[in-house]
């Protein structure tokens, strides 16, 4: 990376691009990078986005992450969990999160590792992911692109992906949309055959071979494969403002 920015900043910008065209919806990002990305988009490419304080207040401007010091949130409206559910089911949301496992169809797992009946590792449970993925657009950020995350088959499908086998006839599919998956190596979309993951841009220094070696399934490559763009000066300023304690520095290791 250049002296001006780190890899994580480039990832944040790539994630922010995913919020740019979503209109007046709740921008939800779980984890440091998705959340900063939503904030960067709201203060840049898409001011119409709605954001929360991480709990139940809609805020007029994104809240910096970590201890807030003298910062006071700027409430705009009230959004307790039940109203979040209403927004989700009405499709007024774009969601970016980090799955524990993801298959080529974008089927996420955040629930457990191993057989669900008696898992090797119990994780969170499906949370709201089934409802999110079937009702509105969803994107993923993965900080360590590896075969542990990108697997042939997820241990538990915690939400809907693009695998046609999982969609029974008659289930309404047009609200479901997977947009992109950003990792520490590349940006992928779901433009591969049958809506599978496909590399659309490589981060500076990463290669297609490297990405493929770290992916547990065959990965297509876009014809117009590009290099992931660098964050702009304005984006870097916003990132610094929204992450005053530098929490993003711990996201990508190595």
């Amino acid at each position: 990376m250049s002296a001006d920015f780190e890899l994580v900043d480039l990832c944040i910008a790539a994630c922010a691009d995913d919020f740019a065209d979503k209109g007046e919806v709740l921008a939800s990002g779980t984890g440091v990078v998705p959340r900063l990305a939503a904030g960067v988009a709201k203060l840049g490419s898409n001011p119409a986005l709605l954001m929360t304080d991480g709990e139940c207040t809609f805020v007029a401007e994104p809240v910096p992450i970590g201890p807030r010091g003298d910062y006071r949130v700027k409430p705009e409206n009230w959004i307790p969990f039940r109203k979040i559910f209403d927004l989700v089911w009405g499709g007024r949301r774009h969601f970016m999160t980090t799955p524990t496992q993801l298959d080529r169809h974008g089927t996420p797992n955040i629930s457990c590792i191993g057989d669900w009946a008696q898992p090797k590792a119990q994780l969170l449970g499906v949370r709201g992911v089934p409802g999110n993925t079937i009702n509105h657009s969803t994107a993923y950020f993965v900080a360590a692109h590896s075969k542990r995350t990108f697997v042939e088959k997820v241990d538990m499908a915690s939400g809907a992906g693009n695998d046609p086998q999982r969609w029974a006839p008659g289930v309404r599919r047009d609200f479901h949309r997977l947009t992109r998956c950003v990792t520490n190596l590349c940006v992928m979309d779901f433009g591969g055959s049958g809506g599978t993951l496909r590399i659309v841009s490589l981060h500076p220094g990463a290669s297609v071979e490297q990405v493929r070696e770290n992916t547990g399934f065959e990965l297509e490559v876009a014809d117009d494969l590009a290099e992931t763009r660098a964050p702009t000066g304005q984006e870097l300023d916003l990132i610094h403002r929204l992450d005053p304690h530098g929490q993003r520095a711990g996201v990508i290791r190595g």
């Binding site: 304080d53 991480g54 709990e55 139940c56 207040t57 970590g66 201890p67 807030r68 009230w78 307790p80 969990f81 039940r82 559910f85 989700v88 089911w89 089927t107 629930s111 457990c112 669900w116 009946a117 008696q118 898992p119 090797k120 590792a121 119990q122 994780l123 969170l124 449970g125 499906v126 949370r127 709201g128 992911v129 089934p130 409802g131 993925t133 079937i134 009702n135 538990m156 499908a157 915690s158 939400g159 809907a160 992906g161 999982r166 969609w167 029974a168 006839p169 008659g170 289930v171 309404r172 599919r173 609200f175 479901h176």
Partner: protein, 293 residues
């Protein structure tokens, strides 16, 4: 109308094998004083329905649970609850894992005395595979859409914790989110609500607007005054999540001895006053700031 009672009287109404819904969310506004009273009892074989936090983990650790119905179990400031994980990973409990919205819908259906409510969440995922008893249904209208028919989740008992109740069972929630407490109460045959303070009905307005009166008397059979009764979970704006305590609690899942030590220090104590002393006293708990998410 005076519905005031003690936690011990609540537990005396419970029976082995009951289905108990617990209000709150994760590590927020959980009726922990009532949960601790259950921990001290002989009750067993319970089915617990919750947006789970340390309530679920503690009941699992104490061997009170046959089955947990959940969308998640998390301590919020710590992602995972060690005791719940252990119970799942050793196969000690049955599980019904649902989308958070499916759980709401199941409780809501029960509260409306409907057999099910249609929902999309869960379709095209393994939620159907792990819940083979949950059926789908075709829309009877021209759209012909296939929907998931979320079955009602009727509860024998609901337990909640709020800021204020009057003796008649009106409940006031001063925190920013009512979560789904009213839906839990709606779904249950018997509803017991603990509160920081029992107040005269006419004083509700001094504390907050009408909108804070989330539970009405038809929701509530018993009112239990339990100051700091949500600890170690938060009861905003009064006190925040006790992250330090939750760390100790969750880490105690690693060794049986650690759990026994935790249990001796914080559960098998002489009532809630002794508990409050064990966790540092009223002054310490009052000073715990609200978590930042």
């Amino acid at each position: 109308m005076d519905k005031r009672m003690t936690a011990a009287e609540v537990v005396a109404e419970l029976r082995d094998g009951m289905t108990i819904g617990i209000g709150g969310w994760g590590a927020r506004r959980k009726p922990m004083a009532l949960v601790r009273e259950i921990l001290r009892s002989d009750l067993s074989d319970l089915t617990i329905v919750a947006y789970g936090g340390p309530d679920v983990g503690l009941l699992c650790a104490a061997g009170k649970v046959r089955k947990v119905v959940y969308g998640f179990v998390s301590l919020d400031v710590i992602a995972l609850d060690g005791h719940f994980r252990k119970a799942r990973q050793t196969g000690a409990i049955e599980a019904m894992e649902l989308d958070e919205g499916m759980l709401q819908w199941g409780l809501y259906a029960a509260s409306l005395r409907l057999p099910f409510l249609p929902i999309r969440a869960g379709l095209a995922s393994d939620v159907e595979r792990i819940n083979p008893d949950i059926r789908t249904i075709r829309s009877p209208y021209p759209d012909d859409e296939l929907l998931l028919a979320m079955p009602a989740l009727p509860l024998d008992v609901a337990l909640c914790h709020v800021d204020h109740c009057d003796a008649g069972g009106n409940g006031q929630i001063l925190g920013p989110d009512p979560y789904f407490d009213d839906v839990f109460c709606g779904a249950a045959k018997r509803r017991f609500v603990s509160c920081e303070k029992v107040v005269p009905t006419e004083s509700f307005a001094e504390h907050g607007s009408f909108h804070t009166l989330v539970l009405n008397r038809t929701h509530v059979d018993g009112v239990i005054e339990a100051p700091f009764g949500a600890h170690p979970t938060a009861c905003a704006p009064g006190y925040g999540i006790d992250a330090e305590h939750l760390q100790t609690y969750s880490a105690a899942a690693k060794q049986t001895d650690d759990w026994q030590a935790y249990r001796q220090q914080f559960v098998d104590v002489d009532g809630e006053a002794a508990y409050l002393e064990a966790v540092g006293g009223a002054e310490r708990v009052s000073a715990i700031p609200q978590a930042i998410f």
